[in-house]
Amino acid sequence: MNIQNILTEIEKTDPEVYERMDSRRGAMQSFLRIGGKLALAAIPIALGGMFKKAYGQSAPNIVAVLNYALTLEYLEAEFYTMGAASGVVPAGTPGVGAINTIRDHENAHVSFLKTAIASLGGQAVAKPTFDFTAGGAFGNVFTNYDTFLAVAQTFEDTGVRAYKGRAGELMGNNDVLTAALQIHSVEARHASHIRQMRKARGANVKPWITGKDTGGIGAAVQASYNGEELTTQAGIDIAAIVNANAASESFDEPLTAAQVLAIVDPFIV
């Protein structure tokens, strides 16, 4: 990508582009200053942000969605960071590597989203104070492996639904939308693996969500699964094509921001 060419092209249609950005050199320095700190994938977002700032077009709702995502990633990142450090995952088992992998992804998501928000000229929300016992509902979350995995499954499945629910609001920015989708599928991979980890420990659960079944976790997390039982998509009766379980499993359902915030509220002090 040649930033000089991009600026030259813009100059053809907007001779005052450099005044908007101080100068061509200023624009380049601005880009390099941002770019130097950025992961490569965030550069298009940064570029978009730079031009949006120059043209006075902010993206308040896109920043709001990214801050929403950031809040969920803070939750997951701290959960796995604390979990990995707590010794709740039995030493010498494959679970250690898996939880470390997921922890690293969630922390990478936090860092990526913060960068993206800053690039858009937005202000990243601060990390909330978390209580992973949810006020005592999961009191042994960092001492009982099954509780830990149950909370992990709930966070992952909820995260998948949360991203899905707000992707449409990102349609105005292709790079942000694509990045959100790229995070969304990672959360789904995590969910699949955590579910298999629970299955290996005797839970009656599959990598995918059947109906609105919590996989034996119970009422405390039911809100994260309500609505997943849908078997009609765009007016098409999927249960007429395959059995009802497969019909619900084959489509994951979104959650609204209000639903997600109600779900995570007990975990935020």
């Binding site: 990508m1 930033i3 380049m28 390099l32 770019g35 992961a39 490569l40 994938a41 298009p44 977002i45 494959p94 590597g97 898996a98 992998t101 997921i102 690293d104 922390n107 990478a108 998501h109 860092s111 990526f112 991203y163 899905k164 992707a167 449409g168 349609m171 292709n174 790079d175 694509t178 989708l181 790229q182 995070i183 969304h184 599928s185 990672v186 789904a188 991979r189 995590h190 969910a191 699949s192 693996h193 298999q196 599959k206 990598p207 995918w208 998509q233 765009a234 098409i236 999927i238 094509i241 395959v242 059995n243 497969a246 019909a247 499993e249 084959s250 489509f251 994951d252 359902e253 979104p254």
Partner: protein
């Protein structure tokens, strides 16, 4: 000077083993434009339209839905064959999981067929001659390739969709494909559900352009797909 710095950064990234395609994708650029030009320069397609005998996926959202329909047809046919001729030594648990996945892919395939109605492309002819369906490693290796490809295809197609309802539907499907991908990977090697061959340092999964996905799918199809009218941005 600034230009040189940008160039060096780019080369540094490529030097670190990031393929050109991924590198371009990371920058938010698409290779499809370049690919389209290449395609047009080929002798078998002088007019720039679909080559004789090929299936035109179409344009706009309909084109993207047909593109997804084509991929779901491929996956459904594959898992259908796996269910008909299970590989040697398959366990009951694996059999059940693979039957579930087959049902999910059939669900997706038929959903798109119905949703597209008379705009749907025809049923595709597959070419699975390179797959040894008696061999676990062969079957799961192809399953992994198809699932990762499906995830990257939906991730890359999201920005090409203009109707927000279709975007949501694609989102409902892609996370199920990602669940499949993780499971298949874990069946091959436990713990590889989201390894660094698919997840980059920012924790992002792969997003691929239709042009790249169609190229990857081509060896498994007797039918020839043409995506020259698909949106590229």
């Amino acid at each position: 000077m600034e230009k040189e710095i940008v160039t060096r950064q780019a080369e540094g990234q490529q030097g670190n083993g990031m393929p050109r395609r991924k590198f371009l994708a990371a920058l938010g650029l698409s290779v499809s434009a370049a690919a389209a030009i290449t395609a047009c320069s080929k002798d078998d397609n002088p007019g720039g339209g679909p080559p004789p005998g090929s299936i035109d996926l179409g344009r706009d959202d309909t084109g993207i839905l047909n593109y997804a329909y084509a991929l779901e047809q491929l996956e459904a046919a594959f898992y259908g064959q796996v269910a008909l001729t299970p590989y040697t030594g398959i366990t009951a648990a694996e059999s059940q999981l693979l039957a579930d996945i087959r049902d999910h892919e059939v669900s997706h395939r038929e959903f798109f067929k119905k949703a597209l109605g008379n705009k749907a492309i025809p049923g595709l002819e597959v070419n699975f001659t390179t797959i040894d369906f008696t061999n676990r490693a062969s079957v799961l290796g192809v399953a992994k390739a198809f699932e990762d490809l499906g995830v990257s295809a939906y991730n890359g197609a999201g920005k090409l969709i203009t109707n927000v309802d279709y975007l949501l539907l694609a989102g409902k499907i892609v996370s199920v494909e990602a669940r499949h991908a993780a499971l298949i990977r874990d069946l091959i090697s436990n713990g590889s559900f989201a390894d660094n061959t698919v997840i980059n340092a920012n924790g992002l999964d792969v997003a691929s352009s239709p042009a790249d996905v169609l190229t990857a799918a081509k060896p498994f199809l007797k039918s020839v797909l043409w995506g020259g009218n698909l949106p590229t941005s």
